[in-house]
Every structure is written in C-alpha cells, then in structure tokens.
Point group: C2
Chain length 205, copies 2
DNA sequence: AAGAATTGTGATTCACAATTCACATTATAT
DNA sequence: ATATAATGTGAATTGTGAATCACAATTCTT
C-alpha cells in the first residue's frame, strides 16, 4: 500500500530527521537514500520529490545542526547575564547536545565534508567559526566587566572551550560510551574557569 | 610493462605509506584499492598479494599512527625530565604531527571506524587511551615532584591537553589552512600551564 | 639449470547505491 | 466535477569499487 501523500514541507522535516538519526547510528557512511526512505516510510525514488539529491539532504542536516548550536547560545544568554555563568551553562548544554546527537561530530569530522562539493567544507567552517565567535563574544564581555582576566586572549580561550568537550566526546564515542563524561564535566570546568577567571573567591592554594 | 617484483615487506610499507597519503588528501572515503595501487605503481589486484583486504590495510595504517604517537612521547621523555617541559614539547610535537598528517584526525574521526569490523572501534579507543595514559603519567609525575598543583585531576588534565590541539586541528582542517595555528599554540600553552602549574614564578595579576 | 615459490597482470564477477523515468494515485484549484 | 499539480511506486539504468581467478613473469632454492 502506498504511503499517504504528505506535503513536501513535512516530508522534508521527516527526511532530515531520519537522516540525522541514521548518521547518529552509523555515521555519514551509513547515510543512504534507501535507509532514509525506509525510516520515513516511503520508497527511495519518492525521496526525490522532496530533495534533488543526497547532497541536498546533507545540506539540510547541516542547517539543522547549525540551528541547534545557535539555539544553545541563545538559551544561555537568556538564562543569565553573567559571562562565566553563560559559559558554564553552555559547556553543559553543548556536551549534552553532542552526546545525544553524535551525528554532529560525525558530520563535522566526516570526510564527506571534504570529498563532496567544495562548498561543503566552507559551509562547515562557517558554522564552526560562527559558533566560536559567539563564545568569543561571551569571553570578551567577561573581560569587559572584569570577571575574566585581561591577559586572556578571547580567540584562544574560545578554542580551548571547544577543547573542553571535543576530546571528551570523541572518547565517549570511540569507547562505546565507556567514558565517564559526567566526571569529566565536573572536573574540567573548574580547571578551565581557573585558567580564565579574574579571581577565585577565597581559593588560593 | 609490469612493475618490478618487490618483496612483500617493502611493498607493505609502500602500500601503507600510499594509503596514509591518500587519506591525508581525501579522507578515508578517498582510500581505494585502485588509488593505492596507482600510487605504488602496481595494478589493483596485485595489492592482494600483500594484504588480504582493504580492512587489513587500514589496520596497518592504524599501527603506523600509533607508532608515531608513541614515538613523540618517547622523544620528549628523552629530551627533559621536567614534566611541564615534557608536556610543552609534546604539545608542539603533537600539533605538528596532526598538521603534517591530517590522516590521523581523518582516521580517528572516520566512521569507517564505526562501520567496519566491530574490533576497529575498540582498536582506535585503545590507541587513544594508551596515548592519554602516557600524558596522564607525565602529569602525575609532575604532581609528585610538586611542579603541578595537587588539586589537578590527571585524567581530566590529560583530556584537556588533547583539547588544546584537537579543536585547533579541526579548525585548520575545515578552514583549508586558514587558521593561525602558530598563534594558537603560542597563546594556548600559557593558559593551560596556568591552569595546572603549581605556581607561576612572579606573575600574579 | 629445473622446479617451486613469489609477485604481477587483465578480465571478470559481485554487491551496492544513486538516480531517472513512465505510470498510478491522490489532492487542489477553478 | 474536472483538469491540473503534487506525491508515490516499481523497474531499469548507471557508476563504483572490492575481491577473485587463471595465467604470465620473475626470483629463489638446490
């Protein structure tokens, strides 16, 4: 029996979601038109009614990823005006996001990014750098209000912020979940804070 | 004209080297039997005289990578007995290694790691964790001799050490070399050192 | 130098996945 | 209600890349 007809807009959402899940499970390599179609409940050829190509699907996945990254930044900005607090919350949220969506590291690190259209690499770069700039902005504003040391280089500190999570995510990934992410979070944040905060309230060694 | 006969041992080295270069250029996806064969100067089917499968080639590449990582650790241990110095040198060397061999991040992040034999994931995990343990050991010894703060958790600090370089390497990769790695190195190390060193000789804010 | 082992070659097979297309069915517009 | 657009379907096409095999050329052993 044929799948019920559904508007392209909804189908596109379903397809992107299915693609994301597929990548979560088996990486970009595991992303196939047939796989997506099956998850959505249509036949492979039907997919071409809603996307012109597999590449177009991947691009849409990139859109979704960027959206989620930015949503986290916006969220912590609403939560608190204190830069260090924003960073700490973003740290937790970012770790959670990568944890639930391993597709994100998979896509970012995928060499489909490099092999595919030359634009794609630039696209991924733009996503990361934009995210990085937001972090940088938070750090800069902390420097302004004196809660972050003046000798901290925002660009460097922002990259290090990513470095707080990225290797942990990789370890979690590669070990099949056999890595204590919670412990790392608990212990890494104070260390990072110590390296950028202007002064620790009564906690000299 | 046929390629000159060459002993399997040498051919294996050539093949692994060619595979590494191929991955450097176009990721694990770009790794093909045909591609390797062409680089080596033999015909695709000839490759099967020296490796049983493409997977076997990938495994050999993993061997090579592990070897190079460990060589760096051994090297800095010979250079100086001071843990913080060892870390600093390893930092530079590790960054250089990833820079010259983008194959390393490519392979580690590749979903060929996840898609392939189930062993492979474990294999990669073992490589990274072993490397991590060496770093951890250096940090622990610094804690012993008092040059590194007692409240530093070696495991966490080791992961953060990786985080000093991993995101930078990704940025370098994704931006097509348009990221100032040297500047990052120069600025990131002091920040890291500040977060783990026992005391900075006369440099309070 | 004869025979065995090693290495190289080209043709071929096999599986797999993206894409296209002619046709069927359902929704939408007038 | 009827024409037109939108969506779904199965079959067929195409490309790709790994792996196998029978045979040729070379090297090694004795």
């Amino acid at each position: 029996m044929p799948a019920p007809k559904t508007q392209t807009l909804q189908r596109q959402e379903q397809i992107v979601q299915a693609a994301l899940e597929l990548i979560n499970d088996s990486g970009v390599t595991g992303l196939s038109i047939a796989g997506i179609a099956q998850k959505v409940g249509i036949v492979p050829s039907a997919l071409y009614r809603h996307f012109t190509s597999k590449d177009a699907v991947l691009d849409a996945v990139l859109d979704l990823i960027q959206q989620r990254l930015m949503a986290n930044v916006a969220h912590v900005r609403e939560q608190t005006p204190v830069p260090l607090q924003q960073l700490k919350q973003l740290f937790t949220r970012h770790a959670g996001l990568l944890n639930e969506n391993q597709a994100i590291p998979h896509v970012v690190f995928s060499d489909a990014v490099y092999t595919g259209l030359p634009d794609r690499r630039a696209r991924v770069a733009q996503i990361i750098f934009t995210y990085l700039q937001e972090i940088q902005a938070i750090i800069a504003s902390g420097r302004q209000d004196g809660t972050i040391r003046k000798d901290v280089v925002p660009a460097t500190a922002a990259v290090m912020f990513l470095g707080l999570i990225m290797p942990a995510a990789v370890l979690w990934n590669v070990s099949g979940g056999n890595f204590d992410m919670a412990a790392h979070e608990k212990s890494a944040w104070p260390a990072y804070e110590r390296s950028i905060a202007a002064q620790n309230p009564k906690e000299a060694s």
